[in-house]
């Protein structure tokens, strides 16, 4: 994991600032940094989004492929996650350096997103027990500047919103053999309902208080953080503690409450933005990676 070295004096400075609800970059404890979102950035995926949060940059691409449903849930499709920690993000990721982090991230993402409360998994089913859509969610870390979980989750939500799955029809003959037919109209697509897709809010315990969207420096001052995933309505769907230190029950409760509040506030403008972008359609000037 990308880390920075912070001197004791700096730590004290950051700690005191947070105590007074004024962070080094001028934010309050529950404020996010500046965030940019663009969808449909990779043309050969079925859905993609790029999110920058401060200097953290992630790219998410979603590919839909036809697979076989899991035997336990024959009438549902599923998601697969893969996080690629590119050495572009930080030199530490070079070689197999990013592997551990990647696995950790993808396991968490799998827990958060691959369940029927987040996404209508049944809508991914093509024919029960035989065919379903498998969404391969590929996350690429382009730059690490703290708070990866939140950035990734926002990017995934945006990419899922953007995902267009080609519509297929099942035709079956008298014998009962089924065949998948693809519509020849490229515009004939299925969209996913993302209203229940949660966003992850990471709360870092710094001193006696907690902050959202911690920078690398702030992270260095924190001993433990809480990851919670919150839906649009403020429902917490998952929570997880990360970091070596401990959290007392009272602050966990406090942090959860704060997380719900922040999460709810995050969803509304995000959806707004996505819908706005969508309505521009083809006319939208794409920014891409050079903009």
């Amino acid at each position: 994991m990308a880390t920075v070295k912070v001197s004791e004096a700096e730590k004290v400075y950051i700690l005191h600032g947070i105590r007074d609800d004024l962070r080094v970059d001028g934010r309050g404890c529950e404020d996010y940094r500046h965030m940019e979102i663009e969808t449909d950035v990779v043309s050969n995926t079925d859905g993609s989004a790029k999110v920058t949060l401060g200097h953290t940059a992630v790219l998410v691409g979603i590919k839909a492929e036809i697979g076989k449903p899991r035997p336990l849930v024959p009438d549902e499709g599923y998601l697969e996650f893969f996080v690629d920690c590119s050495a572009n993000a930080t030199p530490e990721f070079e070689g197999r350096g990013g592997e551990e982090l990647g696995t950790e991230l993808s396991n968490t993402l799998y827990k958060v997103f691959n369940n029927k409360n987040s996404i209508e998994l049944k809508s991914l089913c093509i024919s029960a027990g035989e065919h379903c859509w498998v969404l391969y969610v590929d996350v690429l870390l382009l730059q690490c500047d703290g708070n990866l979980y939140d950035a990734i989750s926002v990017a995934i939500k945006a990419a899922l919103f953007n995902t267009k799955i080609p519509r297929v029809h099942i035709s079956s003959d008298e014998e009962g053999t089924k065949e998948i037919e693809l519509s020849d109209d490229p515009y004939d697509c299925m969209r996913l309902d993302v209203s229940n897709v949660p966003c992850i809010v990471t709360l870092c315990k710094v001193g006696h208080r907690h902050v959202v969207d911690a920078t690398l420096q702030e992270k260095a001052c924190s001993v433990a953080s809480l990851i919670i995933s919150v839906t649009q309505k403020g429902t917490v769907t998952c929570s997880r503690k990360v970091g070596g230190g401990s959290l007392d029950p009272e602050s966990i409760f406090e942090m959860t409450e704060a997380g719900k509040r922040v999460g709810k506030a995050l969803h509304a403008p995000l959806m707004n933005l996505l819908q706005q972008e969508e309505s521009l359609g083809k006319k939208r000037q794409k920014v891409g990676f050079l903009g």
């Binding site: 050969n44 053999t177 020849d184």
Partner: protein, 948 residues
């Protein structure tokens, strides 16, 4: 390129994969018109005064046909009258996608300079590219693209002073309306063609489009509807339908079989009977059939039924026609019977044939009778019927509506008067699907430039064998010499033998137009007095031909042998040779026999001959078959090109000398390329025939008390050698002819796709074709493989792709088969010409086969085979008794046996001008009611004789 803009085009194919291709738009695509001064083009295609005289357009105009017009009316577009046409890239792509043959024809037209056809890459032009809109089908999008491009042209050429305009041709009403809305000049194709003042005959070539429903047809539906493809596919998957190739019967137009290829080699046939069940399938179509319940199965009828007489008024007579079938269907063995439910792939091509002129005067609708009896008659519309009578013409089928008795078609072109030599030769080539057009410019552009000479670099890469005494031995008059030989004694006492094959693969590089053309042609076709080359003449008769006293590139296979013809060393190399002599078989034979000659060439020949004899002996000991078929040669009159005499080909020692070394080279090369490329070597195999094939041979031999063993090739060869009958020297040859007929066809295959490599006839475990690259494409591939194997040339992807190889083999096998048929047909035609000039001849022959109602007689003198029928349609038949055991038919009092010597008269029967044939009639033995008197008694009676 001034500017480029990237667009992304999304396509989805097959599975659910998203494919993204970059699509570059540019603004340096010019309009190609002479009248335009905006475009910075270097050369123009379209003329300034593009005039086709038309009632509708009195001004100069360019034509823009849409896809369907090109697909259906390519015959019209090919006409020299139609010029200055803009072919849009959209159209070109769609045509390519939908019909490969039309695409090829279109490309040829575009290449023709005189036609002024211009391809406009509208899909890459910044102003004419359009993206597919939501809810728009691919077809609608393409139609729109065509309209946008046409619109662009009309805007672009607006400034022209002569009033140059663009005319969009479409048959789609919706498209036409939309085009008119946007202010384009648009006509239906028929409308436009009919408006052409100077060329009314073009109208005949218009294909009938579906929407101008044929008035002739009654409203009654004659045939069941064909099922849609999707239903057929699911049906085939579930096993309720079977897919197969439709093969119409030659003798009975109401009967056909569907040939079903199953996994592996076994295949079955399904019988189809009756118009309803045949359901508009045409010979060679790929169809889906449904089996009938077993109680409706029938036996193939032995009745000969020809669909002749006047045009049937669709529904009426059917019942009667089919009654004839039913009677025979009641008896004997029944076969699986089915009905055609749908057509998977039509295999229509233009058919040769003749016109039956309608009895009604002034009528423009006529029936056309194809030369191939398996093709139904076709209804066409023409105003030039009177001038086409007696001519061979070509007609293409356009469609077969379910309420029409006959398919509808259109006139393509006239080939010339029936019975004329040129016409008939053309018909032969067309009917056997032999590509025989002149080589296109694109193909010729890949030929080496003349004067051609061997350069230093060439010499550096090749072994210099110019000093060797190489000579070639070929039939007289051969100009495409692809093999030459040498033999010399080495210092160590061994012999060095070299087979030098023309290095055609040096000139034909993989993948270019020349290569593709040669791959498509597959083989050179030798007709009587005419050769249809596989590669252009410059190569076949000059640069590749190993003529004497010129330096030529060769691919040499060189062995070191001891005097017992045992191979000690084999070596392959690309070389340069200089043949010292081009000999004919006879000349070579004379040199060998002439004891006074002792020059190098002769010594070399003697050495070769000696080794060849040893090789041959060895081969025969291993069980190679010596089979026989009679081949005839015509002496062609040098001026009229008519055959004046014919003789059977004579075989000399030198023939077998050359053959032996070619076999040896082929086997050596086959081994080498198989060792090197076990997956993708192109080899040739000859499967052992199934025992049932030999039945006729065994029965025939038994009738003369001769035993033939067919357990192995060796046993067969030995027993054939033993088979002799006293006072009947020709018996052995006849037996060998019969044995030849029992054999299977040898085929090319790719070593990675098959496991059985055995060549039965040559008794070799592996074989290929290496020695005739000028006339066979298979040899070119083998040359390339061998060149890669010895590091003399580089490889390319298709060469190593066993599936592509296998597809190529299929084409080569098909072309070889058709070439053989065409050659036979050509011989048959020349035989007819010969007998036409001779009148009736009385000749001695042998009974080769017997049938229930006929005997097939072979006349050795002419190598001619013919059928003598005992029964006739019109008159009361003689008393026929057929003994299955013999098999021997007994006619009145006389019993015929196989190999009986008979006397027959031979004459030309030209009652049916389309199917002129040799007619044989029995003169000896004399059987009342069957035989005819010898011709000298009654020289005048030509035809009436048989009707007595």
């Amino acid at each position: 390129m001034l500017k480029s803009k990237t667009f992304v085009k999304k396509t989805r194919s097959g599975g659910v994969v998203k494919i993204v291709r970059e699509h570059y738009l540019r603004d340096d695509i010019w309009c190609g018109s002479e009248a335009c001064n905006e475009c910075k083009q270097e050369s123009t295609v379209l003329q300034k005064d593009a005039c086709i005289e038309s009632n509708l357009c009195s001004f100069p105009h360019y034509l823009v046909p849409d896809t369907n017009v090109v697909l259906h009316q390519i015959d019209v577009l090919e006409d020299p009258v139609i010029r200055n046409v803009i072919i849009l890239q959209t159209v070109l792509q769609e045509v390519r996608h939908r019909s490969a043959p039309v695409y090829k024809r279109l490309k040829d037209v575009i290449h023709e300079k005189e036609k002024f056809f211009y391809t406009f890459t509208n899909e890459h032009h910044r102003e004419t590219f359009i993206e597919r809109e939501p809810g728009e089908t691919a077809n609608d999008r393409n139609d729109r693209a065509i309209r946008v491009a046409a619109k662009w042209y009309s805007q672009h050429l607006k400034s022209d002073k002569n009033g140059l305009q663009v005319v969009l041709l479409t048959n789609d009403q919706g498209n036409k309306n939309k085009a008119e809305e946007s202010g384009l000049l648009v006509y239906r194709c028929e409308e436009y063609i009919k408006s052409l003042i100077a060329n009314p005959e073009l109208v005949d070539r218009l294909a009938l489009s579906n929407d101008d429903k044929n008035e002739v047809t009654s409203s009654k539906v004659l045939y069941p509807e064909h099922l849609p493809l999707s239903k057929i596919q699911t049906g085939i998957k579930s096993g309720s339908f079977i897919q197969g190739t439709f093969r119409a019967s030659r003798d009975n137009y109401l009967e056909a079989t569907v040939f079903i290829q199953k996994e592996g080699d076994d295949s079955t046939e399904v019988l189809i009977q009756g118009l309803q069940h045949l359901n508009r399938a045409v010979h060679q179509d790929v169809v889906a059939v449904q089996l009938l319940p077993q109680n409706q199965w029938v036996a193939p009828s032995s009745v000969v039924l020809q669909d002749d007489g006047a045009a049937k008024d669709d529904s009426v007579e059917e019942g009667e026609e089919e009654k004839a079938l039913r009677i025979s269907a009641a008896e004997a063995a029944r076969k699986p019977t089915g009905k055609v439910v749908g057509i998977i792939k039509r295999n229509w091509r233009p058919f040769c044939g003749m016109l039956n002129v309608s009895q009604i005067k002034e009528s423009t609708r006529h029936l056309f009778t194809p030369a191939d009896r398996r093709i139904p008659r076709i209804r066409i519309e023409t105003r030039q019927a009177s001038s086409l009578v007696g001519n061979r013409i070509m007609v293409a089928i356009d469609g077969w509506p379910k309420d029409s008795r006959y398919p509808n078609g259109h006139f393509v072109r006239s080939l010339g008067g029936a019975g004329e030599k040129e016409t008939e030769e053309e018909v032969l080539l067309l009917e056997h699907d032999v590509p025989h057009q002149a080589f296109s410019q694109a193909v010729l552009s890949f030929l080496p430039k003349l004067p051609w000479a061997i350069t230093k670099e060439d010499l550096a890469k090749r072994e210099d064998l110019r000093q060797l005494t190489v000579c070639s031995v070929d039939p007289p008059g051969c100009t495409d010499i692809d093999d030459a030989l040498h033999c010399r004694e080495l210092e160590n006492g061994n012999l060095e033998v070299g087979v030098h094959i023309a290095d055609v693969s040096h000139f034909i590089r993989p993948g270019n137009a020349l290569d593709k053309e040669a791959a498509n042609r597959g083989t050179t076709v030798y007709m009587c007095g005419k050769r249809i080359d596989m590669v252009p003449e410059l190569l076949s008769s000059n640069l590749c031909s190993l003529r004497s006293n010129v330096e030529r590139f060769a691919f040499s296979c060189i062995w070191e042998m001891n005097h017992e013809a045992k191979i000690l060393k084999t070596r392959f190399t690309k070389s340069v040779i200089n043949s010292k002599a081009s000999l004919t078989y006879a000349e070579a034979q004379m040199r060998i026999d002439d004891v006074n000659k002792n020059d190098d060439i002769t010594k070399s020949l003697r050495g070769l001959n000696k080794l060849a004899k040893i090789l041959k002996r060895g081969r025969i000991e291993k069980g190679a078959l010596t089979l026989s078929s009679l081949e005839v040669r015509f002496h062609i009159d040098s001026e009229t090109h008519d055959p004046i005499d014919l003789q059977t080909k004579e075989l000399m020692e030198t023939n077998s000398m050359v053959e032996e070394f070619m076999l040896l080279a082929n086997i050596s090369v086959a081994q080498k390329i198989y060792d090197e490329f076990s997956e993708c070597a192109l080899l040739r195999k000859h499967p052992a025939p199934p025992p049932s094939n030999y039945e006729i041979l065994l029965k025939a031999a038994k009738s003369k008390n001769v035993e033939i063993h067919t357990d192995s090739a060796k046993a067969l060869a030995d027993s054939l050698d033993m088979a002799r009958v006293d006072h009947f020297p020709y018996f052995n040859t006849l037996l060998r002819i019969l044995a030849t007929r029992c054999m299977m066809q040898a085929v090319y295959f790719c070593s990675g796709m098959d496991s059985d490599f055995h060549h039965y006839g040559l008794a070799s475990s592996i074989y290929t074709h290496f020695t005739s690259p000028i006339r066979r494409y298979s040899d070119i591939i083998v040359h390339r493989l061998l060149a890669v194997a010895i590091g003399a040339d580089s490889t390319y992807p298709d060469l190593m792709d066993k599936h592509k190889q296998s597809a190529l083999c299929n084409n080569l096998n098909y072309r070889h088969k058709m070439a053989q048929y065409a050659q036979r047909a050509s011989v048959a035609f020349h035989t007819q010409l010969f007998f036409k000039s001779r009148g009736i001849i009385n000749e001695e022959g042998y009974v080769l086969f017997v049938r229930k109602n006929a005997i097939i007689v072979l006349i050795p003198k002419f190598g001619l085979e013919g059928t003598v029928f005992f029964d006739r349609k019109d008159k009361n038949n003689p008393n026929l008794v057929f003994d299955e055991e013999g098999p021997t038919p007994k006619v009145e009092q006389h019993t015929f046996h196989i190999f009986d010597k008979v006397k027959v008269t031979v004459s030309l029967d030209d009652t049916n001008i389309q199917h002129q044939k040799i007619r044989m009639a029995l003169t000896d033995p004399v059987i009342p009611g069957v035989s005819v008197p010898p011709p000298d008694v009654e020289p005048q009676a030509k035809k009436p004789k048989l009707d007595r």
